[in-house]
């Protein structure tokens, strides 16, 4: 199976301090990989490195087999990124935000496709035409997820995707993520939601202070909530 994402002996320094230290992992196409870790473990840094926003001190990252630092544009075109704090424009409605970012990404979507994506994240119909400045954090997160879906990118990088969502919406999101992976999309999500990760991920990596301290593979029967939670508590919590 081809690897959609690959980190090889990756080390990253930020402000002169090591943030990632010699980590390696791969995410095969069509799989969900969850990076679990506490605050400051280096989870978001890993995602930003795949987007080419950070340069590796050593090692490399590849997207669809091509090193990111050699073709950042191609890597970004292949990726839909959902940041931790859903960063959309308050002066626009959900529809306008989606249209704007899709235009920038040269992606096309009809009105019905927009509504379908917003339906899939359960954003209230009445809210869709309102300026997002009035949205709650959860509503902004839902719109951002809808954007990631609509981008139709083969790879999704999700930074704390369920942060701010209510329990029902979290379940809905997990089902959606599974559905997308089943359709062939590759998802790399970073989270500290052990339960959610165990629900949807094919592989889980435990990150602690920039080092990969554990790995679990569903095909090997290694992913169950109790096992992962214990490992997280023992090895990954700060």
């Amino acid at each position: 199976m081809n690897n959609a994402l690959e980190a090889n002996s990756l080390s990253i320094n930020r402000s002169g301090k090591p943030v990632l230290n010699d980590i390696s992992f791969t995410v095969p196409a069509g799989e969900i990989y969850a990076l679990l870790g506490g605050n400051g473990a280096g989870k978001s840094t890993t995602l930003l490195t795949f987007l080419g926003f950070l340069e590796a001190a050593s090692g490399s990252v590849s997207v669809q087999g091509e090193q990111v630092n050699k073709n950042v544009k191609k890597a970004r075109e292949a990726i839909a990124y959902l940041p931790e704090a859903a960063t959309l424009y308050g002066h626009m409605s959900a529809y306008e935000n989606l249209r704007y970012f899709l235009d920038l990404a040269n992606a096309k979507a009809s009105d019905s496709e927009l509504n379908e994506a917003l339906d899939s994240v359960a954003l209230q119909t009445a809210a869709r035409s309102q300026h997002m400045v009035t949205y709650s954090k959860g509503m902004r997160q839902k719109t951002a997820i809808a954007l990631a879906i609509l981008r139709d990118s083969p790879i999704l990088l999700l930074d704390e995707p369920t942060s701010g969502l209510d329990p029902l919406a979290i379940d809905e999101f997990n089902r959606l993520a599974r559905k997308l992976a089943d359709q062939g999309r590759t998802i790399l999500m970073v989270t500290h939601d052990v339960y959610g990760a165990c629900q949807v991920a094919d592989r889980i990596g435990l990150l602690r202070r920039g080092k990969l301290v554990g790995a679990f593979d569903r095909t090997e029967g290694e992913i169950d909530t109790e096992t992962v939670h214990r490992a997280f508590a023992e090895r990954a919590s700060t």
Binding site: F53, P83, T87, L88, M92, D103, L104, A105, H131
Partner: protein, 478 residues
């Protein structure tokens, strides 16, 4: 649609929906319209008034009754500097140098009636003209609505979202630049209207358009700087602080430092000191009213020899008139030396100040604007020279009448009785020695020549900021 176009449209959408941006745009539009209309009306009125006053002054001079020609030398005449049509945009030095001059024998007077001295309570602040609004206030509008164009995206993390869509930094910054540039160019609309109306009033169309292009370039310098700062800073507060600091430094402080430096480098001798020196020099030339002044001894000998007579009474011409004419010529030569010295010194100061355009795009623009509008110091100097020629010609013309049409004996006995006094009156027809005076604006080629150097400065400012902006845009990080 290209990505920068999408970003450009969104920037306008944001401004349309922002109370701050809309309020700022409305406020500055009203300010621009008000200053353009008021300055336009004022300068048009000034132009007509000065043309009328010039005509009236000439009529008054010509309508004087028969009298001794030297009384007309002292009666004097006024010359008015008619403002060029583009003065409705930039009145330049007009407001401080004075707009009319009293011309009389034996003296070179200063220009009078400067607006800024005539106003009751200016407190050191000049009136607001379209040129000043464009030079000082429109950059503030651009700073107010533009300082956050890029850094706002960074602060709210939407920059990450934009970049992760595969949009390059260059496309993002280009879209923002074009959006802000469009605000700058729209703000030029009143200037375009004023310049075109100036060209219909007689100014060169190419010069009028060049003036618009100068201000467009100046505002684009600000646009490039604002986008550069917004691209390279981390917070809106820092971006705003840096831009306001740059504005204060270049638009307010540097011109004053430039003036102080020009005064220190090319110090002007004091007015009293100069006048005392000139007065001493003048005394050496003798008193033209007194033909027996020893200063004219050699002149008398030469004239007697030239006419081959022994006494001035035997001369076929009026010796007193000849003395007056010679004395006027000598005085004029002396006064011109002082005047040229003063103008040269003012020009040195002006050039020194202009070189501060390398430190302040506002100064470079002000210099180019005055040159193109024909309202700069050099134009004022030309006015002084032309009025001096007018003065000398009519004074010497009257002196010639004195020489040719009055007998020496009548002249020296003019105060004996009423009849003697009547005999030295010449016909008022002789007052036609006064030439018509009409001050024309500089030719287009001269204006280009004068504006070339500050325009080069402005172009270099633009290239420096734009290239730096492009460099930073290509390397932009969230």
């Amino acid at each position: 649609m290209k990505q920068w176009q999408t970003i450009f449209i969104d920037e306008w959408r944001l401004w349309r929906r922002s109370y701050l941006a809309v309020s700022a745009l409305v406020l500055f539009t009203l300010l621009l319209l008000a200053t353009s209309i008021f300055t336009g009306l004022r300068m048009t009125e000034e132009q007509h008034a000065r043309e009328h006053q010039q005509q009236e002054a000439e009529e008054t001079f010509l309508s004087q009754p028969d009298r001794h020609p030297h009384r007309m030398v002292h009666y004097g005449h006024y010359a008015f500097r008619t403002p060029p049509p583009l003065a409705m945009v930039d009145p330049g030095v007009d407001a401080v140098t004075g707009q009319s001059i009293f011309l009389e024998g034996h003296r070179q007077n200063s220009a009078m009636f400067a607006d800024e001295r005539a106003a009751a309570n200016t407190g050191g602040f000049g009136s607001l003209t379209p040129a000043k609004v464009y030079q000082l206030l429109i950059p503030l509008l651009l700073i107010a609505i533009g300082h956050g164009v890029v850094v706002r995206e960074r602060e709210s993390h939407t920059l990450t979202q934009l970049l992760s869509q595969g949009v390059s930094g260059t496309q993002i910054v280009a879209g923002k630049w074009v959006a802000l540039a469009s605000v700058a160019l729209i703000s030029l609309l009143p200037l375009v209207i004023a310049s075109l109306s100036a060209s219909t009033a007689g100014d060169s169309l190419s010069i009028s358009l060049a003036l618009v292009a100068t201000y467009a370039l100046y505002l684009l310098v600000w646009v490039s700087l604002i986008v550069l700062i917004s691209t390279t800073t981390q917070t809106r507060g820092v971006a705003l602080g840096l831009l306001v600091l740059f504005w204060i430094t270049t638009a307010m402080i540097t011109p004053r430092i430039g003036v102080a430096s020009a005064n220190a480098t090319h110090p002007a001798p004091g007015k009293i000191e100069t006048e005392l020196r000139m007065y001493a020099d003048k005394r050496e030339l003798g008193d033209g009213h007194n033909a027996s002044d020893p200063a004219f001894e050699a002149f008398r000998t030469n004239v007697l020899a030239q006419y081959n007579v022994d006494t001035i009474e035997e001369l076929p011409v009026n010796f007193r008139g000849m003395v007056a004419q010679k004395n006027e010529a000598d005085l004029t030569e002396l006064m011109n030396q002082y005047a040229e010295e003063k103008m040269m010194q003012e020009l040195h100061q002006s050039n020194h100040l202009r070189s501060f355009g390398w430190l302040s795009p506002t100064l470079a623009t002000a210099s180019a604007s005055q040159s193109l509008a024909s309202t700069g110091l050099q134009t004022h100097h030309r006015f002084l020279r032309e009025t001096e020629t007018l003065r000398l010609n009519f004074v010497q013309g009257l002196n010639q009448v004195h020489i040719d049409k009055l007998s020496y004996s009548d002249d020296i006995n003019r105060n004996n009785d009423e009849e003697s006094s009547r005999r030295v009156r010449v016909s008022s027809e002789n007052w036609k020695v006064l030439e018509d005076f009409e001050f024309a604006p500089d030719q287009a080629a001269e204006r280009w020549q004068a504006a070339r150097y500050p325009l080069l400065m402005l172009l270099i400012w633009f290239v420096a900021f734009t290239v730096s902006g492009m460099y930073c845009a290509a390397r932009i990080k969230p």
